[in-house]
């Protein structure tokens, strides 16, 4: 009847019809930045495209995914899994050209039970922002522990074979995550992740900076190459550990996506823009805003060496003052020494009396050196009677009632250094108001000593504890322990403000949101100076220097605008023990004072805004001053002298200065830098 050619045309027409039919089942939102589509039958996300940058992130409808949920039995012992693709949405509705709503009700578990739980998702496009809002109405007797939404079933790179990796921030750094393996990024460290390719990326954000619960950014490899039924693919989803209790409803944190052209800097700019909405700049005393340096000293350890009694502190203070050091972080001043007897902030009789310590602090501060007392409130030392008699009540526990712990740290003697006899600690529950009262009371002891600040070491983590199931902690468990960080910090700040708003808060690598309370962050040198890039002049980031002629570390400190923290003998010595390091550090700070507008009061731009070439290895950074004049710091990391050329677009006349030769000389941008040296090229 039909010729082969006609048959082919009919088949082609039928296939088109079938395709059109399939597309007809998609509900699509689009604007100038995004196209996103959902299957009307399943609610699966079937298509996700960024227009700028051009990137088909999800383009395979067959691998589309909707959501995943776990509804646990009240005792946490039994999981009831709900697979989104096995549910039929009751609604997939376009509310406006840029917003749609999906809803699933009466969810059927893998065990066949129907649960009176409703999941509602709202997807919105606003300019270049794609956001996913989710709410859970849990009318069941179960605890909705986790919800995965949105889910991208087949995350693709922008072009076939293009590299793909992720970034997240932690400890004042920008970490790089290998996506060739399964990878999880946790919101306890970073409120965002960047899905990065060679020249473009996708910024993904947990759109709530208050740490309401843990959200994981999860990259998982599934399937196998060559399998049509189960092809190899990279899935990406955000997992909300929201713990929605029986007969309650919860609005989950929005998940926000933005595309960007460029490298991680452009991704960080997305975060920076959002952060500017909610971030409250903390008060920083004038002395800390100026160019200055710190040092660090330890008094004793759990091994009771009592290396620096209180009465000898003033002698050290004179050395610091004589050498222009502005602040000293004092470790191991409190009872038991560094990492023992936490959270007690009593003084240690082995070091002297309370009065001796109080007076020594006052004397050293009268010389112009601010005393910053190191402390930890996260833990309770298991060896103390205080723990046995009281503090155990406030510890975090697992669903089975067992205690969460932290392993302690090793000091001084071969026995401890081999890991024997460490002071192990319980993890205190910051969600427990009763424990927060204990912590506040201990903090009052620090204030009473009259120091001008404190440094909370290990503020950046709670060991392996995420949630506590301890009963009688003033909330219905489980409680997200990181959620207690800010309420406690706020209470401590309020207590300090009663003494002095200038009492400075420092922390060990506090998460970015905690820097609202702890503007001084001790991180050491990082690969990407995250805090400096976000907000240079409101971030005081300390980097320790311990080498005996440590020009390498000091040059990087200059380049990345860290504050020098002198740590001779790993902070057990005198600052005069390493005169070469001290002398070069002074030169660095002198240079910063002399060219303060360029090197201190300017915005740190990392490697953006200038080009540098050289005939050897080097690193560089750019600073933008408030007047628009720029500076480029070039550090020779080679073992020999290098010839470098600095190119600043549309530059005016240039001058160069170095720590060793601080008088500015005019330059074309072509400079010679000796080994172990740095140079600063400044626009006039």
């Amino acid at each position: 009847m039909f010729s082969p050619a006609v048959l082919l045309q009919i088949l082609f027409a039928l296939s088109l019809l079938a395709t059109t039919s399939a597309l007809a089942r998609e509900i699509t939102l689009k604007n100038e930045s995004w196209i996103i589509a959902f299957d009307s039958q399943s609610g699966a996300l079937t298509r996700l495209e960024s227009k700028s940058p051009p990137w088909t992130i999800e383009g395979n409808p067959k691998l589309g995914a909707s959501f995943w949920m776990n509804a646990q039995s009240p005792d946490g012992q039994q999981d009831n899994i709900v697979l989104g693709l096995k549910q039929r949405p009751v609604e997939v509705k376009k509310l406006s050209p840029h917003q749609l709503r999906l809803q699933w009700q009466n969810l059927v578990t893998e065990g066949g039970e129907t649960l009176p739980i409703t999941l509602t998702a709202t997807v919105s496009l606003t300019n270049d922002t794609l956001s996913f809002g989710t709410s859970v109405a849990n009318d069941s007797l179960l605890l909705v522990s986790a919800v995965e939404f949105p889910c991208i079933g087949d995350l693709k790179p922008p072009t076939a074979g293009a590299p793909l990796w992720a970034h997240h921030t932690f400890y004042g750094d920008l970490k790089r995550d290998d996506l060739s393996k399964t990878c999880t990024i946790m919101s306890r460290q970073s409120l965002f992740c960047l899905i990065q390719s060679a020249n473009e990326g996708i910024y993904v954000e947990m759109g709530d900076p208050t740490q309401p619960y843990l959200l994981n950014f999860v990259f998982e490899h599934h399937g196998s190459a060559g399998s049509s039924a189960n092809p190899a693919r990279l899935e990406f989803q955000t997992t909300h550990y929201a713990y929605v209790h029986p007969h309650t409803s919860a609005q989950l944190a929005p998940v926000v996506m933005r595309g960007y052209m460029g490298d991680f800097h452009a991704g960080l700019d997305c975060y920076k823009a959002w952060r500017s909405i909610w971030y409250k700049e903390p008060h920083i005393p004038d002395w800390a805003r100026d160019v200055h340096s710190w040092t660090m000293i330890r008094m004793t350890t759990p091994e009771q060496d009592y290396g620096l009694p209180y009465r000898n502190f003033v002698q050290y203070g004179r050395e610091w003052a004589d050498n222009g050091v502005r602040a000293v972080q004092v470790v191991g001043w409190n009872i038991g020494g560094q990492d023992a007897d936490d959270p007690s902030q009593d003084t240690d009789p082995g070091l002297g009396t309370w009065q001796q310590w109080h007076d020594a602090i006052a004397q050293v501060q009268s010389m112009g050196v601010k005393v910053i007392l190191f402390a930890k409130l996260n833990w309770a030392d298991l060896t103390t009677s205080w723990y046995s008699n009281e503090l155990y009540k406030y510890q975090c526990t697992a669903p089975d009632g067992t205690r969460y712990g932290q392993g302690g740290y090793a000091y001084v003697t071969p026995t401890q250094l081999a890991g024997i006899g460490l002071h192990r600690r319980a993890v205190m529950d910051f969600q427990d108001p009763a424990y927060r009262e204990v912590a506040e009371k201990e903090f009052q002891k620090i204030l009473a000593l009259g120091s001008e600040g404190w440094l909370w070491d290990e503020i950046c983590h709670h060991s392996d504890t995420l949630y506590s199931w301890a009963p009688d902690h003033g909330y219905t468990p489980p409680g997200y322990v990181y959620g207690g960080d800010m309420p406690l910090s706020e209470a401590l700040r309020a207590a300090a403000d009663k003494v002095s708003p200038d009492f400075i808060f420092a922390g060990e690598g506090p998460q970015d949101w905690l820097m609202q309370y702890y503007p001084v962050s001790e991180t050491g040198l990082t690969s990407v100076p995250f805090n400096q890039y976000l907000d240079t002049t409101n971030s005081i980031v300390l980097a320790g220097v311990s080498g005996f002629d440590d020009r390498e570390a000091l040059n990087l400190i200059l380049m990345d605008r860290y504050v020098i923290q002198y740590e001779p003998y790993f902070y057990k010595g005198h600052i005069t023990d390493f005169p070469m390091t001290l002398a070069y550090g002074k030169k660095i700070d002198d240079l910063r004072r002399r060219y303060k507008a360029y090197l201190w009061d300017a915005q740190f731009r990392d490697t953006l805004g200038a080009a540098v070439t050289a005939d050897g290895t080097f690193r560089y950074s750019i600073f933008d001053s408030t007047t628009g004049k720029r500076a480029v710091v070039v550090v020779n990391t080679d073992s020999k002298a290098i010839s470098a050329t600095v190119t600043l677009p549309h530059a005016g006349s240039l001058v160069v200065a170095t720590p060793d030769d601080p008088d500015a000389r005019s330059t074309t941008g072509a400079i010679q830098i000796p080994a172990r040296c740095a140079a600063v090229v400044m626009e006039q």
Binding site: T301, Y306, T413, A418, I420, D577
Partner: protein, 303 residues
């Protein structure tokens, strides 16, 4: 100024000067050397302190322990009931008896050990060093008549371990997960312990499923093995530190800013010797091989 003695207790120079003053008035710091040697090795001990003051490999010539002023005899820790920090520094002890009992054997004994915070302790430590056909054996016995437990004894103790030359290299090897794991000692020395817990860059190497630590120079290797039924660690400590925390380069000269540069190496025995006990420590056998780390792998002393 004998800076090494100052730094025996740590960087607190004021305490150190006090200690040095006490020592200066109470005793001569050094006596004469007592030496064992054969065709391969030469090793010397100070007759007053028992410190290991010099150690040489003869062919090729390698002065392994070079400067007598950094010589150390031993160190032990005996925590007190009220204070855990109670070391006994060999540098502060006088040897009670030291004898070259034969051409290849020296015996030493220290009695009534002076501890840092617990006074004089009724303990004696005896060492027996033999040199036979290029193989050194360090035997030792601790007699603890005190009420304290001696947790660790560090012996033998090389206070100034040197590479064959300033432009040479040193690497330690220990067995980890079935393979020899290298740890560079010179020209780079990376601290491998938590810096909060130590004063100097430190490595505490603990071989798995074997007993030896190899110290490899370009053409020569020392194998040190203690086959013990207790825990043993091989400890390296770079004084006073490195040039830069970024590069981890060791200062190539003998001093930096007037402070001596020296690498300590000691074998740490975790004996936990109880009160009123006598403990014979596992002998430490030191053997040298010419060549790279493959050399001597079939030797009993190498594993």
């Amino acid at each position: 100024m004998r800076y090494s003695r100052l730094h025996a207790e740590g960087p607190n120079r004021f305490n150190a000067i006090f200690v040095l003053a006490i020592m200066a008035v109470s005793c001569p710091l050094y006596g004469s050397d007592i030496t064992l040697q054969d065709n391969a090795l030469s090793i010397s001990f100070d007759s007053d302190s028992g410190a290991l003051t010099r150690f040489e490999n003869k062919n090729p010539h390698w002065v392994i322990e070079r400067r007598p002023e950094f010589g150390v005899s031993f160190r032990l820790y005996a925590p007190l009931p009220t204070r855990r920090y109670n070391p006994v520094f060999g540098q502060k002890q006088h040897v009670a008896d030291i004898k070259k009992v034969s051409d290849n054997e020296i015996c030493m004994r220290w009695d009534n050990l002076v501890s840092e915070n617990g006074g004089v302790l009724p303990m004696s430590f005896a060492a027996d060093v033999t040199l036979t056909n290029g193989v050194l054996t360090f035997g030792s016995t601790l007699k603890n008549d005190s009420d304290l437990t001696v947790e660790t004894v560090e012996y033998p103790y090389f206070g100034d371990l040197n590479p064959p030359s300033g432009d040479s290299s040193l690497t330690a090897y220990t067995m980890t997960k079935g393979a020899l794991k290298p740890d560079e000692l010179y020209p780079h020395f990376h601290n491998e312990k938590g810096y909060w817990g130590v004063t100097w860059p430190t490595k505490m190497l603990e071989p798995q499923n074997s007993h030896f630590c190899a110290i490899q120079a370009p053409d020569m290797r020392l194998n040190i093995a203690a086959e013990a039924d207790y825990r043993v660690q091989y400890i390296f400590e770079q004084h006073p530190g490195v040039i830069s925390g970024v590069t981890a380069l060791v200062p190539p000269e003998d001093e930096i800013s007037g402070i001596p540069v020296h690498l300590e190496f000691r074998v740490c025995h975790f004996v936990f010797a109880g009160p009123h006990s006598t403990t014979t420590l596992a002998p430490v056998i030191l053997k040298r091989y010419q060549g790279d780390w493959h050399a001597g792998q079939d030797s009993p002393a190498s594993n």
